[in-house]
């Protein structure tokens, strides 16, 4: 028994915080504490010594590896993917056109209002949005599409705020992950695998699209891979491993909430300790 502290990407707050967390508590009697922020903020809290969770979950497998290895952990498990798509408010001009069968990129390009995206300088969803537009320009073969769409973008600070804009009537559409739209019961347009960053096999294709942050770092497109680890300095490492094991067995909950969990997962990196993998 005892407890476990999880620090996780915000897009998993319902899945991990409510569903997996609750069933884990019931099964094991271990008190579960989940805390959810943007993936970058999660890494920042750990590397600047302000938070010391047992388990860390990132919405960007590469980010976790770059920031936490080797000082904080030496391994991780990729357990799911997610797909990027478009959520929209059906009561707006953009929403009505999408529902009437207009291709999403035309509806957005000809929209009478701004489209929301996450901050590309702070958040993987933000730069993936830009990269997705670049991939779409080639995929649909529409000249200038990417720049047109980028010009229409308005930045919201955190993933969750994107959806607040849709719900409250401040935004017509936004680029987001599928599970977020599912959690908030919002309309969602799925994109082909070539554009949605969900398929690890397309890693090379995604990498063709890049984004350069205002700090000057160039980021290549990568599949949306959720990975998790138990920190070397964890207070409750045993509980952490039990939680990961429970997470890897609860594939149904993950897919019900919009994540992609198929036979490509889990994928491991480094020496995964005993008891994590099923």
């Amino acid at each position: 028994t005892g407890k476990i502290e999880l620090l996780s990407a915000g897009s998993l707050s319902i899945i991990l915080g409510n569903k997996v967390g609750e069933s884990f508590e019931q099964e094991t009697g271990i008190t579960f504490h989940g805390e959810f922020h943007g993936s970058n903020a999660v890494m920042r809290f750990i590397t600047s010594g302000q938070k010391s969770p047992d388990v860390v979950v990132s919405a960007d497998a590469g980010l976790l590896r770059d920031e936490l290895q080797p000082d904080y952990t030496t391994w991780d498990v990729v357990f799911a993917s997610n797909s990027v798509g478009i959520t929209y408010n059906p009561d707006t001009q953009v929403g009505r056109r999408i529902e009437n069968g207009t291709p999403w990129y035309r509806a957005l390009r000809e929209a009478d209002s701004e489209i929301a995206m996450s901050d590309p300088d702070l958040d993987p969803l933000g730069y993936r949005t830009v990269q997705m537009f670049k991939l779409a320009e080639e995929y649909y073969d529409v000249d200038g599409l990417a720049q047109d769409l980028i010009n229409r973008l308005e930045i919201d600070p955190l993933e969750a705020h994107l959806l607040a804009g849709i719900e409250t009537g401040d935004r017509a559409a936004a680029v987001c992950y599928k599970n977020m739209a599912v959690d908030h019961r919002l309309s969602f347009v799925s994109l082909p695998d070539e554009l949605n960053f969900s398929n690890p096999e397309y890693a090379d294709h995604y990498a063709q699209a890049t984004y350069t942050t205002d700090e000057g770092t160039t980021i290549e497109g990568t599949p949306v891979l959720y990975n998790a680890t138990v920190l070397t300095s964890a207070d409750h490492p045993g509980n952490g491993r039990r939680f990961l094991s429970s997470l890897l067995q609860n594939r149904d909950i993950l897919s019900e909430n919009g994540l992609v969990v198929d036979d490509r997962f889990p994928r491991t990196d480094g020496d995964v300790p005993e008891g994590v993998l099923p």
Partner: protein, 266 residues
């Protein structure tokens, strides 16, 4: 001043005069402040939020945590803030102007930044945090963490208002001292009764701020969830309108205390 019946205009000035000018200007701000609440509650109705949502376990749990922390934070802020205000009002020392200004710093700073600063001061790996850990206390993600965030952010209110009160009763204290009563007895028999209005106003503001504190709390004690943290969590996971029950409960508690203290003071 007695309340008068409303007359034809709907407004009835107690002065029998015409306050339209002020009423119109003021109404702009009043409407601006109230209108978002109306759209929010109206929107929530359209999104199927029902009375049953008020008894969801996370609503009750958050209310419990808020109601067991905000009063303690307010009590702590008052127990130490009133003496601090009194000391600042009565004593002269090198660097007083500095201390005097710095105690209002948390007011200027965004709470989330205050929370980050608190972590640099009291986080698990800081010297203070390690001493506390060795004593079996956790200063973050605990009752103590919540109270520490609320106290940091909200205590300047009771300090500021009490200080203004104490500044105005110095002469009465001199009378008491000349009648043989020491500083502590003078404080309790003269200064405190004469400034109770100021202090109560500060207590009300501190409580309101504590119960609504989110930014710093999110940093120092994301768990257990207080009402503001639960609003955030619900908002992230289930959307804007799902937060209505906790928003309503939070606003009700905060207002009840503020209004209660205000009218008891009269």
């Amino acid at each position: 001043m007695h309340e008068t019946k409303s007359n034809r205009t709907g407004f009835n000035s107690v002065f029998g005069g015409d306050y339209t000018f002020f009423g119109l200007l003021g109404a702009i701000l009043a409407v601006y402040l109230l209108y978002p609440f109306v759209t929010f509650f109206a929107g929530a109705q359209g999104n199927g939020i029902s009375v049953a949502d008020f008894t969801r376990p996370e609503v009750i749990s958050a209310a419990k945590y808020s109601l067991t922390t905000a009063p303690i934070s307010t009590a702590v802020a008052t127990a130490f803030g009133v003496p601090l205000a009194y000391f600042l009002s009565r004593s002269e020392f090198r660097g007083k102007l500095l201390v005097d200004s710095l105690v209002i710093l948390p007011l200027v700073l965004p709470p989330v930044v205050g929370g980050v600063l608190l972590l640099t001061g009291f986080g698990s790996f800081t010297p203070v945090g390690q001493v506390a850990n060795s004593l079996g206390l956790t200063l973050t993600d605990s009752y103590i963490g919540i109270i520490s965030a609320q106290t940091f952010v909200a205590s300047p209110f009771v300090v500021i208002t009490s200080r203004a009160g104490f500044d105005s009763v110095e002469e009465y204290e001199r009378a008491s001292r000349s009648l043989g009563k020491g500083p502590v007895e003078t404080f309790f028999r003269v200064s405190l009764p004469l400034t109770s209005g100021h202090i109560l106003a500060g207590v009300a503001l501190t409580f309101a701020r504590s119960i609504g504190e989110f930014g710093a709390t999110m940093m120092t004690a994301y768990n257990p969830h207080t009402m503001p943290t639960q609003i955030w969590v619900t908002f992230i996971s289930r959307g804007v309108y799902a937060t209505l029950p906790i928003v309503a409960v939070l606003v009700t508690f905060g207002l009840a205390v503020v209004v209660g203290i205000r009218y008891s003071g009269k």
